[in-house]
Symmetry: C2
Subunit: 367 residues, 2 copies
């Protein structure tokens, strides 16, 4: 194999496939990335067997071929080379020569044949969605996935497609985050995607990206295509919680409050709450004022936030961490908080659309 390509292009292509390379793998070849030069394109592949990322760049190919090379070293070297043309050459002993201006590196590679192939996902029934929208859907739900490996299905997010709609849902036993969006498709489909995969997609999609992402499923895998990048992930197996049943349809109190004011007040009250148990903060909602308070051994915090209240006064306690994570991802200026009793779930949602619901279980207040 022998190719010439630009340092800038190669460096950004390597950065992306490296996200699928595990440093802690027991299979040494998976610490490498596969380079394959063919038909005027260089294909790069990283694969940790849960997630595989494939990227392509246009290059001048002098001799076709392929090699596996240490992801960390190759990435570090390419990043540090000057912004100029790089020549990559592989000899018959799997030695890789990297040449660029006054720099000359030799690395020992491994034969490409030993690199595990990515699962095949047919690109039929493909759904198309805006990158920016999909990134937002991830951002607004992923924090509510479970970290607890004893219920593996909850460590991922459920994607449901059908009736011109796509939903992403995460549940960890204490809260639920649900984001819906319009999708131009009637073909139903659903799958639970590991949160690690969604995290990597979130990082691969740039900010304010105007492009599209293509999604295809098989029973066991999902394929995301973003421009020249293909991300193939295994799906989580098992039955997801029937989340629709959990979401209360009625409430006794509904408070409208400024997202930023509530976030700031809870952040301050949390400074004391985190000195105690469960990050407990208390809401006391009465007339036009919501009192946000925390009371611990070394002191107390009291915050007043203006609200517009419909319905009954209520006292209720929460783990402030769970409130803050949701308030940080809600983009609307104001939110509604809906309550039934001090021991039943609270609903948080934007006032300006129906696309997002966050449900949170309260912490019982001691009398």
């Amino acid at each position: 194999m022998k190719i010439i390509c630009s340092q800038k292009q190669l460096s950004s292509a390597v950065n992306i496939v490296q996200k699928a390379v595990s440093t802690k793998t027991t299979l040494p070849i998976l610490k490498g990335i596969l380079l394959e030069a063919k038909d005027n394109r260089l294909k790069l592949v990283g694969n940790d067997l849960d997630i595989g990322i494939e990227n392509h760049i246009e290059t001048e190919i002098i001799r076709e071929g392929s090699i596996v090379i240490s992801s960390r070293l190759f990435g570090d070297i390419i990043r540090k080379l000057p912004n100029a043309d790089i020549e990559l050459e592989v000899d018959t002993q799997n030695n890789v020569f990297i040449r660029c201006e006054n720099s000359d590196f030799k690395l020992v590679g491994q034969p490409a044949i030993e690199f595990p192939e990515l699962p095949f996902v047919e690109e039929e029934n493909t759904y198309v969605i805006g990158q920016d929208l999909f990134k937002n859907m991830i951002r607004q739900t992923i924090f509510a996935t479970s970290q607890d490996e004893t219920r593996p299905i909850l460590t991922g997010s459920l994607i449901e497609i059908g009736n011109k709609n796509i939903s992403m849902v995460a549940i960890d036993g204490y809260r639920l985050a649900l984001r819906k969006a319009y999708l131009d498709s009637d073909i139903e489909n659903k799958a639970v995607i590991p949160s690690k995969t969604l995290n990597e997609i979130n990082r691969i999609i740039g900010n304010e990206s105007e492009g599209e992402i293509h999604i295809s499923f098989t029973d066991k895998h999902i394929l995301f295509t973003i421009d020249e990048i293909r991300i193939i992930s295994r799906l989580l197996e098992g039955e997801f919680i029937n989340y629709d049943q959990i979401i209360p349809k009625e409430f006794k109190s509904k408070a409208k409050v400024s997202t930023k004011n509530l976030l700031d007040s809870i952040e301050r009250a949390s400074l004391l709450a985190k000195e105690g148990k469960n990050n407990l903060i208390k809401f006391s909602i009465k007339d036009e004022i919501m009192n946000v308070s925390s009371n611990v051994e070394i002191g107390s915090a009291n915050e007043e936030v203006s609200i517009e209240l419909e319905g009954e006064d209520i006292d209720i306690g929460f783990n402030s961490k769970y409130l803050l994570e949701a308030l940080k991802v809600i983009d609307s200026e104001d939110i509604y908080l809906e309550f039934t009793t001090g021991v039943s779930p609270c609903i948080m949602k934007p006032t300006d659309n129906d696309n997002y619901i966050y449900l949170l279980l309260p912490v019982r207040l001691s009398k």
Copy 2:
């Protein structure tokens, strides 16, 4: 005590004194900061017994008094409050009330009388030097202080004053960094300052600060005054190495090289060097080319850097970490490298002034 002050001023004053507060102290009161309201000024003090920092802000004082309050909690709360007036009030039970707009905090404080006083340093024989220059002197030497507590004196930097000159020197047994500057004083003085103190001063002096720093000594302590901030540090006791004897006055080879080209080449070669022992890289200097190379089990790096050479060709090896740290703090475009033999110290210095000398011991190359 009862005062009113601006959140912004209080927050930045707290940030500075917090640098002297240790989280790992065995004396619980030292986790606090002392607040003292008197004569229309609020004094704030942090003290870990090695270094003490005192700061002052102008405030409206309604009732004079003093208190010690948890540095971490107080700092976190003040930072998170809105940019508005803050009222601080202490009652007779040492409760501290912090009020700002719709926020109301109570923290339990401790009596000020229990807070250890800072050592007294008379501000006689005071030296005055530009903040920006002093920050640079620290930056160009501090990385060469020793981390090895078995020779405590080398964990600090020597400051020497006299003959219209100030020098700062750090030595760790492998290298020496010496920075000199003009100082308008003939009064001789010298002291060894813990690197932790210099680090904090470096962080307190902002970038491109045009102000001055005032320095006073006693036998055991040093006082730095930067605007309203007083930093009092203990000095290290013992005899510093007579560094002047170590610096070779002659050389057999002298190479002029671009600082940036050499830095970039060594950074790339280091990517392989760090896979081996001692970060070993080799310089082969011959005619107009300096070859920078690293050879380890998994590969090799070869870099060519253009030089102007006076004197003999030479082969010599170094720990690349020690080269990089110095190259990163030398501001001149080109440097001179001076060599005698492959086993004697190398000197690195800027080509455009005589203010800086870096001496580095080589690593013996295996034949």
